[in-house]
Each structure stands twice: as structure tokens, then as C-alpha cells.
């Protein structure tokens, strides 16, 4: 029944030792509505989610499902009560088919306890018809696009009879058109009276899809109410506080410097990799931020991999420091002053079970050793310098980076390259999964590097980000540069058109 409260937390608090992660949070998930949770990292979103999914027992307060209090909740019980969570990182088994994934752990049994594929197929088809979600049941999950994989996870939740579906950063790896596909699917869920919890750092999406919004800050509920009652500046202020909110707005209006000082730091001529990208010709100057805009899959990451010696182009040239270069490995690119902050900080950027200290010094090991012996003092100085200047939290060199928030991990990753004093710094999707406050800080860091004379290339699929920091924009489509803009003269619409225009080609 529409309007029915499916799930409720009443005055829920959670303490870890002396640390209060969540303070008397009361939220209600209503049938047929999407509620958005927003807040910086560490604001208590994850704790709230974990209480709702039964992973954490609340220190005080209670959780109610359809008006009945749930005692001794655990993940299995909450699932049985119809609460499902779809996490940022896929929980599907890539090597199994769609139908196998959907019924994993809840296979329908026939006689002799064998899996009844027929019954499963019938049920899946019914659900797909009911909700208008269509995926081929027999293809392998690994062959599906990211948005289709999300749909499989939704189907999995529906097969489990979930009424409340939590989605944690569901669009982190999706392109613009895929986001709108996902939103269409979410609308189908609410039309069928499911309750959806939508957790995202991307505020545009929150405003698009959510009916209600709950803002969390420092473990408390800063605001909660209908989406119509709040606007963007107010929401940002409530999320991150006045000062940072101000900074994030100032970032949008700051001065643009296309072509920087005019000194070319890195250039390519008809750089191509057969079957991947072709005839990529551009130059980036000292003192400018050059954005590679485009849809996910437009091969921008593949281009920067070649610039960094992580992959080899099949033809064309890279010109660095006045000469034609071929980089056989990242080490050679780094020796030429080129550094890359890779797209996925977990798999390519950081040693997650190592500390801030260790991660910071790895690219600079030659500088901080004397005949192979580490010089503690130099390393300490290096690490302290980055922690201070980048405001890395917690400011503890011995903190294991895997336990830090996305924004701070990204700062550690930036810091390790800043120590190399890069002439060309390439950042691939530098703020995916980073909260608004840390985003503004990262933009400030990138600008500062530019002002100090670095040539900066930012690969970004986030339109807001491109509009915020670019001095000059190259639009990529299917492995080619289709358009170039000076950032001062481009509007949102113009850019969307340029990016989308390539899609049909």
C-alpha cells in the first residue's frame, strides 16, 4: 500500500568505545518513495546503513519493520524481513549467468533437493515482466554493462522478496545515459510500492530521483524532509558547513586559464592504438588544466595509459621535453616528469593494507634511501609535509589507508605524486566516490599545482567536475577527439550536446 511506512529507525545511536558514530537517528522508508541519504564521509551514513541491514546492532534506539520492532537483528534476519542492500562494488559472481546469480543462495528445489531450473526461470520471467526490467537470463554477468549488472542485483533483491532496497553509490561507475536508465528502473520499483534508499555523493542525482532527503553530519541528522523543501546551496551548507560550502561554490566561478603559460609540456601527434583509439593529437601547457571529457568507454583511460608508459601505442608519437619519446614503463614516464593518478585507487593506486607513510614514499624510494637503506628522517618529513599541506585525515602517518575515507585515500594518492614534483600530472576520474567537502579540497590542490606551473590533465566523466575545474576541454568519443572548448566559453548544454553527439556515431 502506498504511503505505508515499511522500515523505521527510532532514535537509533551507535557508539564504538568512546566514539559516537551515530546519534539518535530517526528515519522512515515509505512504500512508493525514494529517500536519499547524503553526507560527507564519516557523517554516519555507512553506520546507519549497517544498522538498517543488521550488520551493526544499535547501542540504543530501535529498528521497526512494518511497525513491528525487530529484536536481535542480524543480516540474515533483515534480509528475511525484506531489506536488501546493493553495494557500490558489485556482489555478483562475474563468471556465473544472470539467472544463477539471481538465485544464488536461494535456489528453488525440486524433488531430491536438486535445483529446479524450470521453476526458477518461470519466477524470474514473472518478476521481470512485473517490473519491466529485462535482462537475458543466460548471459554471463561479466559480459553485461555496469548498469545491467545493477539491474541484476535489483532482480536478485526482488526474487528475495525485498520491500526495502538500499542502493549505496549505485552510479559510481555509470555513464550519464546509464544513470538515467537506472533512475527509470528505480521509478518502476517505487511504482510497485517498494521503498528505496538512495545513497550518493552526486547531488544532481539526489535531487533528480529522491522524494525525501536526510542529511547526516558528524553522526547526527542535520536535516530531513521532502526534496522540494531544500535547494542545493542549503543542502551543501548543511552537509559540509558554511566555510567548505563557500569554497565549493567559489571553485565554480574561479578564473580560467586556457593554454596556461603557453609552454608545451606534453604533446601527441596522431597517437593511435589499433582498435582502441586513433589520431589523438593534442598538447598540454604548463599552468593549465586540460579536461578529457566524454562518456565512460570513450577510451580516455586507454590514451592516458599510453602517455604514462603503462601501455604501448601502435602508431603516432609522444613529445615530451622537446623530443619524441617512447615510454616502455611507468618508470620511464615518471623520469620525464609525467605522473598518473589512476582511475581505481583500490586496485591501481594504493597499497591498502599499508600506511599513509608507506604509500607516500613508494614513488620516491630512490630519493629517501642511501644505498638501499631507508632514511627515516627524510621519509617522516616527506609524509608530514603531505599530511599537513593536503589536510589528510586522520593526520596520522601510521594510519592504514584501507581504513580511511575515499577522499582522504585520494589525497594520499595525490600526495605521493606531488612529492615527485610532476611537470605533467594526469588524474583519471579524481573524485569518484569522494564526498563534496573533500572534492572541493582536491580541486583546490589541483589548482594550486597548476598555479605552480604544472600541466594538468584531468579525465572526468562528471560534467559538474569538468565545468568546475577545466581551463580547456577535449571531448572524446569512441577513441577520437571530436571537439575542443575553452572552458570560459562553454555552457553546460553545449558540452552535454558535444559529449552526447558522439554517442550515436
Amino acid at each position: 500500500m502506498s504511503g505505508e511506512i515499511l522500515l523505521e529507525t527510532r532514535e537509533v545511536s551507535k557508539r564504538f568505545g568512546n566514539f559516537v558514530a551515530l546519534k539518535s537517528a530517526s528515519i522512515a522508508v515509505t512504500a512508493g518513495k525514494v529517500i536519499g541519504f547524503v553526507g560527507s564521509n564519516g557523517a554516519g551514513k555507512s553506520t546507519l546503513i549497517k544498522v538498517i541491514t543488521g550488520a551493526h546492532a544499535p547501542s540504543s534506539g530501535s529498528v521497526h519493520v512494518r511497525g513491528k520492532e525487530v529484536h536481535k537483528a542480524d543480516p540474515a534476519l533483515m534480509r528475511a524481513l525484506g531489506v536488501a542492500c546493493i553495494y557500490q562494488h558489485s556482489s555478483l559472481v562475474a563468471t556465473l549467468s544472470v539467472i544463477e546469480n539471481v538465485f544464488l543462495g536461494r535456489e528453488m528445489r525440486g524433488r531430491l533437493g536438486l535445483v529446479s531450473h524450470k521453476a526458477q526461470r518461470v519466477q524470474l520471467q514473472e518478476i521481470m515482466d512485473d517490473f519491466g526490467i529485462h535482462v537475458d537470463p543466460d548471459v554471463l554477468v561479466s559480459t553485461l554493462t555496469p548498469v545491467k549488472q545493477k539491474e541484476v542485483e535489483i532482480l536478485k533483491a526482488l526474487v528475495a522478496n525485498a520491500d526495502v532496497i538500499l542502493m549505496d553509490e549505485p552510479t559510481a561507475w555509470l555513464s550519464l545515459s546509464e544513470v538515467s536508465n537506472l533512475h527509470t528502473t528505480i521509478r518502476k520499483l517505487t511504482a510497485a510500492n517498494k521503498g528505496v534508499v538512495y545513497i550518493s555523493h552526486v547531488l544532481d542525482e539526489v535531487f533528480q530521483i529522491c522524494d525525501d532527503i536526510t542529511i547526516l553530519r558528524d553522526g547526527t541528522m542535520a536535516w530531513t524532509g521532502p526534496e522540494a523543501d531544500i535547494d542545493r546551496p542549503k543542502l551543501v551548507n548543511l552537509m559540509v558547513g558554511e566555510a567548505l560550502g563557500e569554497a565549493s561554490r567559489a571553485a565554480v566561478t574561479s578564473e580560467r586559464r586556457p593554454r596556461g603559460t603557453g609552454t608545451v609540456k606534453l604533446a601527441t601527434d596522431k597517437l593511435s592504438k589499433q582498435g582502441v583509439f586513433h589520431d589523438v593529437t593534442f598538447e598540454v601547457n604548463a599552468g593549465e588544466i586540460l579536461c578529457f571529457a566524454g562518456l565512460i568507454g570513450s577510451r580516455r583511460s586507454e590514451v592516458v595509459k599510453c602517455l604514462f608508459g603503462d601501455d604501448k601505442p601502435t602508431s603516432g608519437t609522444i613529445i615530451s621535453k622537446g623530443g619524441v619519446k617512447t615510454f616502455g614503463s611507468p618508470a620511464e614516464a615518471i623520469a620525464n616528469g609525467i605522473c598518473l593518478v589512476p582511475e581505481d585507487r583500490h586496485t591501481e593506486g594504493l597499497c591498502l593494507s599499508h600506511t599513509t607513510f608507506e604509500n607516500t614514499v613508494i614513488p620516491s624510494l630512490v630519493e629517501v634511501t642511501n644505498r638501499g637503506v631507508l632514511m627515516r628522517k627524510d621519509m617522516d618529513a616527506m609524509c608530514t609535509r603531505q599530511i599537513t599541506s593536503l589536510n589528510i585525515l586522520p593526520p596520522d602517518p601510521a594510519k592504514v589507508v584501507g581504513q580511511m575515507s575515499g577522499g582522504n585515500q585520494q589525497k594520499v594518492l595525490l600526495g605521493k605524486w606531488i612529492e615527485k614534483d610532476p611537470e605533467v600530472l594526469i588524474l583519471d576520474e579524481p573524485t569518484v566516490g569522494v564526498d563534496v567537502g573533500a572534492k572541493a579540497e582536491i580541486y583546490a590542490i589541483i589548482r594550486k599545482l597548476r598555479d605552480e606551473g604544472a600541466a594538468v590533465i584531468v579525465v572526468s566523466s562528471d560534467l559538474e567536475e569538468v565545468m568546475t575545474i577545466a581551463d580547456r576541454i577535449l571531448v572524446f568519443s569512441n577513441g577520437e577527439i571530436t571537439t575542443e572548448f575553452d572552458a570560459g566559453e562553454v555552457t553546460n548544454d553545449l558540452l552535454i550536446h558535444a559529449i552526447g553527439g558522439g554517442e550515436s556515431a
Binding site: 614503463s329 586496485t347 591501481e348 597499497c351 591498502l352 593494507s353 634511501t369
Partner: protein, 319 residues
Amino acid sequence: MIMLKLQRNLADLALPIAMALLCIIFTIAEPAFLSFGNLSGILRQVALTGIMAIFMTYVIMTGGIDLSVGPVMALAGLAAYAVYYGTGLPVGFAILFGLSVGMVVGTINGFAIAAFGLPPIIVTLGMLSIVRGFALLMGGPDLHQVRDEPFYTFLGNGRILELPVSVWIFFGLAALMFSVEKRTSFGLMISSIGDNMRAVFLSGRSVTKTVCMVYVLSGMGAAVAGMLLSSQVHTASATYGEFGVELDVIAAVVLGGTSLMGGKGSVIRTVFGVLLLGVINNGLNILNVPVDQQLMVKGVIIVAALAVSEWAQRVKSGR
């Protein structure tokens, strides 16, 4: 608060505490356990496994494994024997040759793994068979006497300040490799590679060289152990370091708390793992537990100890 702190430190202290408890139990059951003779006997027994385990720790910290240490022991002993008796060169050359045989095997392992990206378990499993075959080819089925070289015999049987030479070598190498682990860029590279090899490569470091090096060291460690063994028993034979040696070595490393997934671990932890295994073996012998039961008890203790340390790790990281 104190309780919390204690829990947090438990992960690091679990092994020493377990060992202390076992020692107390064994001492109560049989006071002779605590005699100097018995304790130094334990050290002597674990020294060879310990030497190999030190270097195996490095291998495992990179996320790899070395199954070929057993036959390398045999081959190194035979190689030293062959040089000493075959060429008449001084014993120093014989030992150097033995070491280099181990390092050659390690280099081949390391090169196949690091340069071609082959899985360590397969490469070293193949090498286990190849080296054993080669040792049999060289040494045949016979035991070769090595008795008349005083220095060589001293290495395996001599004592300095009451402790066997092999124990000094074990402790010396442990101290050396522990400080390499903590104080050199090589040490930092080893654990970082085990954590995220791709990130280290993208940071501009040469991953290949480091990975190759840990297998060279492991081969060398096995050669040291192999020559000490042939010295202790006054013979060299192609059948030494029989099947199972590598498993003892790996068990000691893992018992110490070095993660088989790579990235986490330490030589100092391995030393404790080695000692704990030694204490268990010795205590069970002293208590006259029959061999069949000993094996089972040993297995249970290894798994239980790992369960405890895993649990302590979870408490520590607050999951």
C-alpha cells in the same frame, strides 16, 4: 579501556603468550623441559627449518610461495661435496658453490614468476621435481661421506658459547633479514608488492627485480640449510630434504602470522612461529606422546593457533 587496549595488542602478543603457556604446561608436566640442554636442543632442531622460513617469509610476503626448497637442500649438499672432493679446492669454494647452486635455482624460479607472470605455486612445484631429479642424477642412490673437513663439520656440529653454530646462523640471519625488512627500500617493496603489485608498478618501481630477488634469497636459504644438514649427518645425499620439508617451513611462516595472501608479515613473527613449532614437537616428545598422536595434536594446534590470531586481528581492526 584497559581491556580494549589489551584486546588490541593481543594480535601481536598472541604467539608469545601461546608459547609461554605451552612452556609452563610442559614444565609442570616434566621439569626437565626447562633444562638448558633441552632448550638448546629445541633450537638446534628448528635451526634449519628456521633458516629456510626466514627467506620463505619474504617470498610469502610478496604473495608467492616456494615449494622447491627441499630438493635444493639435497642439491646444495651434493654440490659442496662434489667441489671439495672432486676438485681439491679449499672448503670455502665448496660452500660458495653450494650457495650459488641454490641461488641459480632461485633465479630460474624468480625469472619465470616475475618476468613471465607464471603462478609461483606451479613454477616451484615444477622446480621441486626438476631439482630432485637433477640431485639424483648427480648423487645417485648413495650416501657420500663428508667427514674429514674440520671447518665443514664444525658448521653443523660445533658450538660457540655453548650454543650450536647452526643456531647462531639462524639467529644471525633472522636479525639481518629483519633489519633488511624494516630498514631498506627492498623490505618496503616486498610487502607493498604483496599488497598491490600493480600500484607499486604504476609508482615507477621495478617489481620484476624485487620479486626475482626474493626467490634467489629463498634458494640461497635452502642451500645454507642443506649444507648444514649434510654437515650435521656427515654425509651428502640426493634424498635429503624429503617431501614435507617445504610444508614445515610454510607452516612456521603462516603460524607466525604472515598472510598467505601477501602484503602482511614479518621475519620476527616467523622466528616465533618456528620456535612454537619446536616447542610443541619437543614437549610432546618429552611427554612420551606416540608419534601418531603427536602428528594429530600438532595439526590441531596449528589450526587453533591460526584461528586465535585471526580472531585477534579482527578485534584489532574493529570488524
